[in-house]
């Protein structure tokens, strides 16, 4: 099978004078059915990568180099109207903060059925039935009642389950999950991760999983891409990366991540010298590409 999502040498630039480079020649691939972890500190450009794929990059940011291909089709410069049939249908999204991602004035029901009716042409009752089934699939109790409730009547964990149900509603080929557990309690985090993995196994959907948490990556992902300062530093199969990280930054990231098999006082912050060196490299790259 061919590669599902192929990002090649992507540059994203904000504004013009002076331009700010948000992404620096980013390349990554997601194979069908694969879970790819996109890891890095905040500001590394992980979210920007996902925004370019979804076509929701900031209005004044432009792709100045490279391409994004989805299912062997170039989608780098699609217009809003051209991209729309893909969104929610082929590529779906699980947002970071379930508390703010649902429309507060609309009941849960129509927020699930809208994608079904729009993309799958389901009638009202069919969509309703499918929504009920989806809520059961994400293990929400009393799905009938939830369909009639407003977002503020649900807990954060319940809302994230609803959002996951929406993402998987049309059986998309790719789900982009942007830190889907960061805003949740630790116990709920675990359940949500389990749920995502379960749904992924049942549906065979590929997932681009964006996170700053290496622990989550270790449990979930087949492949890992490490980013810093808008560029990819290392990309490897998860097993290989955890056994033998090649890039100094990846090693530093490991050292800075809390683990159960290691006392907390062994945690080391990312060395300032390393960050400085990476920034210096980025400047050299910018000079080269300018």
């Amino acid at each position: 099978m061919s590669t599902l999502l192929a990002i090649r040498d992507l540059d994203l630039t904000l504004g013009s004078k002076p331009p700010v480079r948000l992404l620096r020649r980013v390349s990554l691939q997601v194979e069908p059915g694969q879970i790819v972890g996109l890891v890095g500190e905040s500001g590394a450009g992980k979210t920007m990568v996902s925004r370019v794929v979804l076509g929701i990059a900031p209005a004044n940011a432009r792709v100045t180099h490279g391409s994004v291909a989805f299912a062997a089709r170039d989608i780098t410069h699609l217009s809003e109207a051209q991209r729309r049939p893909l969104l929610g249908r082929e590529i779906a999204f699980i947002p970071q903060n379930p508390m703010t991602a649902l429309n507060p004035v609309e009941r849960i029901g129509p927020q699930i059925t809208d994608v079904l009716r729009m993309h799958l042409d389901l009638g009202r009752t069919d969509a309703q039935d499918r929504a009920l089934a989806l809520l059961r699939e994400v293990h929400l109790r009393e799905p009938q009642r939830i369909l009639r409730q407003h977002p503020h009547e649900l807990s954060g964990g319940m809302r994230q389950r609803v959002l996951i149900a929406i993402a998987f509603a049309c059986k998309p080929k790719l789900v982009i999950a942007d830190e889907p557990t960061t805003a949740l309690d630790v116990t709920v985090q675990k359940q949500i991760l389990q749920l995502i993995r379960e749904l992924q196994r049942n549906s065979g959907t590929a997932i681009l999983f964006i996170t700053h948490d290496l622990g989550v990556v270790a449990k979930l992902c087949d492949h890992v891409v490490v980013m810093h300062g808008g560029r990819v530093l290392e990309s490897a199969a998860a097993a290989r990366l955890f056994e033998n990280p090649t890039h100094a930054y990846t090693r530093a990231l490991f050292a800075a991540t809390p683990r159960f098999d290691r006392p907390a006082d062994e945690l080391k912050p990312i060395p300032a010298a390393l960050t400085q060196q990476l920034n210096e490299e980025a400047r050299v790259l910018d000079a080269r590409d300018a």
């Binding site: 049939p85 893909l86 929610g88 590529i91 999204f93 947002p95 903060n97 429309n103 809208d114």
Partner: protein, 335 residues
């Protein structure tokens, strides 16, 4: 949002109404100069004045007058208009439907304008339609409200005399409504000729009344829409594959209405006050026009009745705005 809540709100309106009643009663009785004497033609004797005072019960001690007056008011008896020699209640009731129709049409026009203008401006953000909307709403707000009615009269009376600038209905029209709600009745009886004529007459006053409200609404709604467009829930529907128009109408607008109602609620009661002048300008036979006539004639019983009627309208408007708010906001509705 329960019947209970509405009843409670109505209950709390009672003290306000009593306050207004007392205020009106007291003010009217501390009048410098004697309104009774002014009602009589010059050359009336002191005896005539005394007789008239007795007739209107103005010769009793003030507390006694108040008790008598309150008793009458509670029984729905507001006395007789001095200048028109007709029962105050009958007069007000015959004029009230005209004002209500005017207000309802004006509110509908203002809301429709504001929604279209604000959604249009946000849809074409940064392009010429936004500049047009900003410019027009700025212009409407810069010029004092009451001049808009006069500008309409001026422009449409002279340059484009297509719409009538006075009255409520063409008197030669064969239309005999059973109620005061001409517009509603013409619609229900499918009298399209009458309906068209009534709409032609109501359009300009309603537009003049609606314009300042529409401009204020547009401003606030546009700001709220822009805020809403930056929310996470809009990002989510974007990646669900919603078109921009659908996002604006179906998602952002509903959310933006909540802060808009909060911020512009007061403006709706300004609209009630605005009817007084607009009705006068367009010779529209509502209670506003009646109020100006009553004040000019110093027709105290009529003024008392009208002021209380207006107070009730203000209270009802506030109640309706509150209800709209709680219908729009599910969080309030359920608590």
């Amino acid at each position: 949002m329960s019947a209970n809540y509405i009843l409670r709100r109505l209950f709390w309106a009672i003290p306000t109404l009593i306050g207004v009643a007392i205020l009106v009663f007291v003010l009217v009785r501390v009048v410098p100069g004697d309104p009774i004497a002014m009602m009589l033609p010059p050359g009336a004797t002191a005896e005539d004045v005394g007789r008239l005072r007795a007739l209107y019960g103005l010769d009793a001690p003030i507390p006694k007058q108040f008790v008598a007056w309150m008793g009458d008011v509670l029984r729905g008896n507001f006395g007789t208009s001095i200048s028109l020699r007709e029962g105050v209640v009958r007069l007000v009731m015959s004029r009230l439907p005209a004002t209500l129709e005017l207000v309802i049409v004006a509110v509908a026009v203002a809301c429709a304008f504001a929604a279209l203008a604000a959604v249009g401006a946000v849809y074409f953000r940064g392009r010429w339609p936004e500049l047009v909307v900003d410019g027009l709403s700025g212009l409407v707000l810069a010029i004092p409200d009451f001049l808009w009615g006069l500008l309409f009269v001026l422009v449409l009376g002279v340059l484009l005399p297509v719409l009538p600038i006075s009255g409520r209905i063409d008197p030669t029209l064969d239309f005999n409504p059973a109620t005061g709600f001409y517009l509603a009745e013409a619609l229900l009886r499918l009298r399209w000729d009458a309906f068209a004529d009534l709409m032609k007459h109501i359009l300009l006053p309603a537009l003049a009344l609606a314009l300042p409200l529409a401009a204020a609404l547009t401003r606030v709604l546009k700001g709220s829409l822009i805020d809403a467009m930056n929310q996470d829930y809009v990002t989510l529907v974007r990646v669900k594959g919603y078109s921009r128009a659908r996002i604006l109408w179906r998602v952002a607008l509903r959310n933006a209405l909540i802060p808009t109602v909060t911020l512009t609620g007061v403006q709706f009661s300004f609209l009630i006050g605005g009817t007084v002048l607009i009705e006068y300008i367009f010779s529209y036979p509502g209670i506003g026009n009646l109020a100006i006539a009553a004040v000019n004639q110093r027709d105290l019983p009529l003024i008392q009745g009208l002021v209380l009627t207006f107070a009730v309208l203000f209270i009802l408007t506030n109640l309706l705005v509150d209800m709209a708010y709680s219908i729009l906001n599910p969080r309030v509705r359920q608590s």
